[in-house]
Amino acid sequence: MGSFIQLKNFEALLPYANMFKEGLITTVLLAFFTVLLGFVLGLVLSVMRMSNIRPFLWLAHAFPGTFGFFERDKKSGLLRDSGFLYHLGRFNPLAFLATAYVEIIRSTPVLVQVMVIYFGVFSQLFELPSFKIFGFIAFNRFFPGVVALAMNSGAYLCEIIRSGLQSVEGGQTEAARSLGLSQLQNMRFIILPQAIKNILPAIANEFVTIIKESAITYTIGVQDIMAMVQAIKSASYIIMEPLLVATALYFCLCFPLSKLIAYIERRMSRGDRR
């Protein structure tokens, strides 16, 4: 056996350069749309988790003493913090749904999620049109890939966004509201700018993770970098070198991105330093 990695093998890959290019574009687009959709989903989920909607609270107040669970304290005349109706009254269905979703996604492998979405939802329930974006990205595979990855990263982003919003001191909201700013203005001018700064490293990390995890969508036939590697391997019988090219491509995507975000982070922390 000759040396493990050979220059002539790289040269033999040159005819496949176009495939790498298409794979690269597919991966970038896949990650981009996943990030967009995932962020929106994460925002919605975090708002649901932090909401304070308790549709059954009136029941608890309307029927004190029902079932013998929820009674008035004889001494103070106030309702007790216990019993079935009390817990029903505190129940927040939106927060429950969001929490359940987050926990399910976080406790199952992304490969399973991608397969369930592609074979379960988009092959059985919805028929997607089979056209090609730019002439090489098959929409009926690309779209389920984006949806599955976004559903996955939305759950993680939800937790990141929630912790970011909660990391801003309560005094900030109090100061803003005492100046007459509405809840929405407080969110927009005071909380979000500070929260985004706090969570940017974590979000950047998640975005880089998405680029890397998107490789898994080759299992449902998305023609990304990884799928191209597989195709080139079987066409040329060269195994190691295409993988090295893929490694370089992924590195060239992720490394500058994390550096760029580190730079933005430094710029945004101006107010923290003397």
Binding site: D73, L78, G171, Q172, R177, L179, G180, L181, Q194, D272
Partner: protein
Amino acid sequence: MATGDKLIQVRDLKKYYNRGSIKALDGITVDIDRGDVMVVIGPSGSGKSTFLRSLNLLEQPTGGSIFFDGVDITKPKFPDKDGKLVKVDIDHHRQKMGMVFQHFNLFPHMTIMDNMTLAPIQVKHMNKAEAEEKALTLLDRVGLKDRAGAYPIQLSGGQKQRIAIVRALMMEPEVMLFDEPTSALDPEMVGEVLEVMKELAQEGMTMVVVTHEMGFAREVGNRVLFMADGKLLEEGTPVDIFEHPKHPRLQDFLSKVL
């Protein structure tokens, strides 16, 4: 100098936690007149901060009423002059109640200038140039004109608190609420903040001040409230309270702090 013109009327204000097991405010009734400088004193945990924070509904009271300019702001709706029920807009009332916090609560991601002009521009729709001119005038008054472009982290505690005061003044409030404004300051910076508050009082601003600075209460206040265990135990002029305290709790408290 009280004019007898009632600005804030507090009636039987209650704030309970844990469904009544903790009574932070247990039935407070008091009137605050225009021009009053009302100083609230009492041991820690007496409910004085809760009382102050309830005045602009940063704490939602459990019971009772707060009439601000004749409108009960604790209720979702209130009849106007013609007896028609209109929604109580708490954001609107909060604009007229400036608040200064123990920990300043300046916005760390904004310059001093932006801290001051944000609310006037966004809430009062003042134009930017006008707001900045007004901010510079106020900054000049507290001797911090040259710090307009600085970020809060670059300022000392005393400077931050002076900025917090003028930030609240930007909205031209009818009353200023001070929640232990000097408690988080190094001793040498307390004086500069009290000086600004004193000037404000002399200009006739209505003020409610929760503080441990008995010197300020005595010198600047025209009314002093003594609170303990969520109750208003004694009320009077500084002379009444400090020279002739009646309630044993007040006598005990003063013997410890004076």
